[in-house]
Symmetry: C2
Subunit: 804 residues, 2 copies
């Protein structure tokens, strides 16, 4: 089914990086990238699999202990599987005549397939059929199959199957000056099993900074007429960090030779093992054949699709395909296998090395989809933050604040990894980098915790961990804000909003951040209201203990309550929200003129810089900043929040603020495209569809400066899925009630999806004139569901139908 697969029908080496990113296969434990594993497997090392790492700078820390540049570590490459004929050169796709080629990624099966026909040695024609997968049910397993048919020749074909730990991190050209070698060689060789009598190979390596041990093992079997050629001689060569098995067999004209390679991977961070290398070998020994692996793999994917699919009207064929590609990428990054790991959600998932696996604020775009489908996966990603609370408290303390200050760019142990200096290619100079001033990342974490609670009703976790996160973030902002008695308002200075074009007031104070970023301050007002609610909803015993543990006094809570009503939010005179205090004094810029001159002005800051100018001077935005509020709140919620702060914000103000910033934003990130599309779709704005189409194709067409080859934009991908899930259905939870308010746009006439709400699975079936909601039967209480204000009880096992 073509709505379930991404197909390339020609071989184009120049597209390789992009295809590799888009065709990564993974299971939440590890991901595998590499479109053509057999091409020069001994010369080129494809990014294999990753672990979230930590350091992008060579810093000297306490005790003179120097840290290496370890951030994202490529696991050894397990893909190596190639062949040669009659002792000739190893197969190289670039050196044969390609007669036909098809590569397809099947989302439903989580499988990458290749079918190739080529001519070599002038006359010999051969077909090659391959498939491979990283097992979605058994996180430590992966497998590939290669079928070779000699169409018009016969001879000796020798297969080479390898595990290659001589991999570097070289996936992002811009990082070539950073350390790229992160794997130390420990041991490799061959072994035989107890259940598998084969000669198998294994490789043990270790990450150089974190000293994580990585054990891999591989078993390669050759079949003729589906009979394992058990007696085929196997030669194993092991050199430092690399091991290969060579297996020659005779191949007859027209006879398919099938090769199965099964691989296992464990690290020293895994549970229930003794040593990683031993665990990999033992798991491989008892591992079954590829057919059985494939069966359980596809079944596991089908369970995820059952929960996570969004089905559109058949007329939306292309959108449907892309939506599934996006959901597929989110699920292969974070799945139930994430639960027992200590991993967050890097902005590129595990599909590329860009940003070196660091965790930013993208969760706010990724978690909503997961929270309404796989809430425990969301929780495990929030636990990743909880585990780094100690470091966040230290971060705050070192800068003179209280509470917990999570970093903008978070490394493996929660350390701030934002670069301190930025190199301008235009001017070839270094200047301070202010990324770390994006304190709003903390409000996003609090938002994610609260959203998880609303959807799951998981009061126990809130008491145990969630509340502590929110309280310490509130405390941080209370210490960051200053009370201005003249205005009776709380100000926050020295921050960067999401729009990174403005890092200060250039004339007077460059690189010191801006004052009263509207987005940050409104979120802080929301946070200060929410933290008090949180202390109300958790169990008595947790509240009592938390008040003592964190020494929360009435005076502090009074300040929070006060801040929730008195955060300063700047406005223009006409009721339009000002992005920050002083934004109104900046100059206007004729963006159309720049577009005419430069074409793509997404990174207008760099264009201005090259001209000796500075984006700080202008009313231009890199990405949604004020409009992030539109993404997080409905019009009435935002208006209520601002009213509470003493500001009038009418429907007219809402619409004019939207248009004002849309006109001035260059969309230097996929997230800006996403947020605008999401808002317009949600608000049934006629511009929405065009935005939706554009953002859906952002990675597929690699529109953001060709960066998709460095890894897919997972925030955008997840956010587009959520644009349908919450945007179209209008799902919002308040006071323990699920509210739906469907909107339709032109093509979007119907949609089906599941939503998980307070432990219930709801099947939502949406069409233009009605919405039906079915609840799986379960041992649970009835829930209340409101559609456009009409509220009804839904009991387990029953169905509600609302007319629209």
């Amino acid at each position: 089914m073509s709505e379930w697969s991404l197909v390339y029908d020609r071989y184009d080496p120049s597209e390789q990086g992009l295809r590799e990113a888009l065709c990564t296969t993974g299971n939440g434990y590890f991901c595998t990238r590499g479109a053509f594993p057999w091409v020069k497997a001994d010369e080129t090392h494809y990014p294999g699999t990753y672990v979230a790492g930590g350091y992008n700078r060579l810093v000297s820390t306490i005790g003179g202990h120097e840290l290496e540049h370890e951030d994202l570590v490529n696991f050894p490459n397990w893909l190596g599987l190639t062949f040669r004929v009659d002792g000739g050169a190893w197969f190289d796709l670039d050196k044969v005549e390609v007669l036909s080629f098809e590569q397809s990624l099947d989302f439903q099966e989580g499988m990458l397939k290749h079918a190739i026909r080529f001519r070599h040695d002038k006359t010999r024609e051969t077909t090659l059929t391959m498939r491979r997968f990283v097992h979605m049910g058994w996180p430590h397993h992966a497998a590939q199959e290669m079928i070779v048919v000699a169409q018009n020749w016969s001879g000796t074909i020798e297969f080479r199957s390898s595990l290659d730990g001589q991999v570097d991190n070289r996936g992002v050209a811009r990082y070539s000056h950073l350390a790229s070698h992160h794997l130390d060689y420990i041991k490799s060789g061959e072994f035989t099993g107890v259940l598998s009598p084969d000669t198998m190979i294994y490789l043990i390596t270790r990450s150089s900074q974190s000293r994580m041990r990585v054990g891999m093992a591989a078993r390669t079997r050759i079949f003729r007429s589906n009979v394992w050629q058990e007696d085929a001689p196997v030669t194993v060569n092991a050199i430092d960090g690399y091991v290969e098995a060579l297996i020659p067999v005779e191949i007859a004209r027209g006879e398919p030779i099938r090769v199965e390679k099964v691989c296992t991977l464990y690290t020293s961070r895994d549970k229930a093992i003794s040593e990683a290398g031993l665990a990999a070998r033992e798991a491989l020994d008892r591992c079954r054949n590829i057919a059985q692996l494939q069966q359980t793999h596809i079944r596991a994917w089908s369970n995820y699709w059952d929960r996570c699919d969004i089905a559109l009207h058949p007329s939306m064929h292309e959108e449907q395909k892309i939506l599934r590609l996006h959901i597929y990428h989110l699920l292969q990054t974070a799945s139930n296998h994430t639960l027992d790991l200590d991993v967050g959600l890097p902005s590129r998932g595990w599909t590329g090395e860009s940003y070196r696996g660091h965790v930013f604020w993208d969760e706010v775009f990724m978690l909503p989809f997961l929270t309404y489908r796989l809430p425990i996966v969301s929780r495990s990603l929030l636990e990743y933050r909880f585990m780094r609370l100690g470091r966040a408290r230290l971060n705050a303390q070192l800068e003179g604040y209280r509470g917990a200050m999570f970093p903008w760019q978070s490394g493996s142990d929660g350390r701030e990894e934002s670069q301190e200096q930025h190199f301008s290619c235009a001017t070839e100079t270094w200047s301070p980098d202010d990324s770390h001033r994006q304190r709003h990342v903390n409000t996003m974490i609090a938002w994610n915790v609260w959203s998880y609670f609303l959807a799951s009703g998981d009061r126990r976790w809130m008491g145990l961990r969630g509340a502590e996160l929110i309280v310490l973030i509130a405390r941080f902002f209370a210490s960051l804000a200053t009370y201005n008695p003249a205005e009776d308002r709380y100000d926050i200075e020295g921050v960067l909003g999401p729009d990174q074009f403005h890092h200060g007031y250039p004339a007077t104070e460059p690189h010191t951040g801006v004052k009263n970023n509207a987005f940050t301050n409104v979120m802080v007002a929301w946070l200060m209201d929410t933290v008090l609610t949180v202390l109300d909803v958790i169990d008595d015993i947790y509240r009592r203990e938390l008040l003592i543990k964190l020494d929360i006094q009435k005076e502090e809570m009074d300040v929070w309550a006060d801040m929730s009503m008195k955060m300063a939010v700047p406005f223009f005179g006409n009721g339009i929200i000002s992005q920050f205090e002083g934004f109104e004094h900046l100059d206007d810029l004729d963006l159309d003129a720049y577009r005419a001159k430069h074409g793509d002005i997404a990174r207008l800051d760099r264009i201005l810089e090259a001209e000796g100018d500075d984006a700080n001077h202008y009313k231009v935005c890199k990405q949604a900043d004020v409009l992030m509020l539109y993404y997080l709140f409905t019009e009435s919620e935002l208006s209520a929040l601002l009213f509470r702060l003493g500001y009038d914000f009418t429907e007219d103000h809402y619409r004019r603020t939207l248009d004002y910033y849309m006109e001035r934003t260059t969309h230097g990130t996929t997230l800006s495209h996403l947020v605008h599309a999401w808002i317009l779709m949600r608000n049934a704005d006629p511009r929405g569809l065009e935005w939706m189409e554009r953002v859906l194709r952002a990675d597929l067409d690699d529109i953001i400066g060709g960066t998709t080859r460095e890894g897919v934009h997972l925030g955008m991908m997840s956010g587009t899925a959520d644009m349908f899930q919450r945007g179209i259905t209008g799902a919002r939870i308040a006071d323990g009630i699920l509210n739906l308010d469907p909107v339709f746009q032109d093509k979007i006439k119907q949609m089906k999806c599941k939503l998980r709400f307070h432990g219930n699975w709801l099947q939502i079936d949406l069409s233009e004139d009605r919405i039906s909601i079915n609840a799986d039967s379960a041992w649970s209480e009835a829930v209340t569901i409101c559609v456009r204000g009409e509220c009804r009880k839904l009991s387990p096992g029953s169905t509600l139908v609302f007319k629209l």
Copy 2:
């Protein structure tokens, strides 16, 4: 308060091992043993802290990879803190004249204290006051303080503070032939901090088999009049696996010199770190002083006590103290810090090396207390089993069974660690060891999962993980049992019951196990009924997927249903349950005669063996076997279960079966004492009190062959707490209702405790004529509580009072 502490008021080196075990301090992450850290700290290595390990045999596994004897690994010893005067010998308590001595373990504060006055160099009198703790709130921290007062002298006192990785596992004399060295040296040295300007020391080691990296760091500060002697010179010596800091200061007559040592510990299995050694150093650098650590430590303990205490009538002073000692030991073994680790509950906790950290069936005695107090801790211990499900499936497969067969003695990766050969000291011969035939451990795991579900109502976890455990265990027993058409019964052969005296029918089939062990078979009948209930109560979506994933067909469920009604249970003609088929044909033995001759006959098997005889021939039991059914079921539940199987089991049969086995049991384990005490107390049997008193003192008086010095008996300790918690209150949950049926015995007139039930905290206040139950206010539904059949709704925030 003496009901909150264990006090020793004299120094007796011969009691040292016992005191060390009883006075272990820990936090669920690591435990510290060692009563006198300053004695010969450079010569003797005290067991420090442990990690659950894996292997007790030198086995050759796949790939010729040989495993070392790594099971329980002692972490490096952080206790080393001693001194010398005027360059003399390092302080040694055995070489001075002890004038007064007091050692006390304070349960409430989780603190070990010493106060000693001694004379040295003939005339010099000195007092030494120490306290230390492993931090209950911050799992990676520990601290100790030493105050020295020179009563009648002055001079130079030099302190030595060390981290010692040259530790072996030598805590159990019987294991001296096993490998004892499990720590490899990696690195050590000194460092200075960013927040702490001190010279500090660190040590990095690695376990030799599992390659777990262990990083430790320590900071030692000397105070005079509470002023840190920042300028005191520090000399650091680092040799392989050992590092020390030497700090000399002047000491004046009567002037207290106070030393603070703070230590941090991380392993490579910890979350949110880069490298363990770095994590330990960074954590130490930002660590505050001992006063602040102590405050948060005591607060954390007070939260645990608030949840977990059992308060008895003041007249039960001694029982109260011991009960708290027992609860203290359980909590320092398993706490919230266990949640993110992959650890089980070894039978000795982390207080000693006996059984090398392996996990047996003791959970069935340990978990009930936790499940009613800290259910998420229980759940994390059940997850330990879930993580080893793959290995349990392999265990079953290798022996020709289906489903999952958990081992009797479980190593780090879930491998069977029961010894294969047993050495008889009496006859100096080796014979097969049949311990692994104790298949009932699997029914206990299913029981624990179900009990957790009943108390917590955690349907999500049951769907996600719990159900799979129970189903695969049921499948294992279905493949172990054989259907006997003649009797229309299911038989199970070749097992060992809890009574390890009988491993077969010696005349014909020694070492092949027994047939139809009553305990095992009744539990299997219970299991087969329960597994079908489990599939009913989990969410639809989980059930659908589980049926497919595990290929559960109607035919298999029909067999389960059939087995639940047709397991064979042997009886004597008079209605007494026979321990196993053929037990009735064994000979009687005059136990009184053996008691008269040998005194303690707990290990009667060894006595008989020494006489050339064999316990297999006799109607004698090492420990509760049939009576385990009395521990798990009430009389009416057991009678209903047996009725369902087609057997009449009257009140008279119940009583006579009890007496029959009580007369024939030698109680070769603390658990047998516990089970008998529990049953008698629960049934208000007048013999109960005597049994209760005896089992409460089992470790304190080291009554089980002097084995407490090898580690406390944690099953007994937890079980005695549960004997009050569930035994006295009669708490049982069925159909989502909490039933209470209090019993009183002589001294036991009142009791207060909390119980956690379906997310509610209930305060139970019990006296002879009434029981009051208060629910903490919370966002939850009302629950139903029945006292002796009278049922009422209890709403959050309200109180129910029942007259008794």
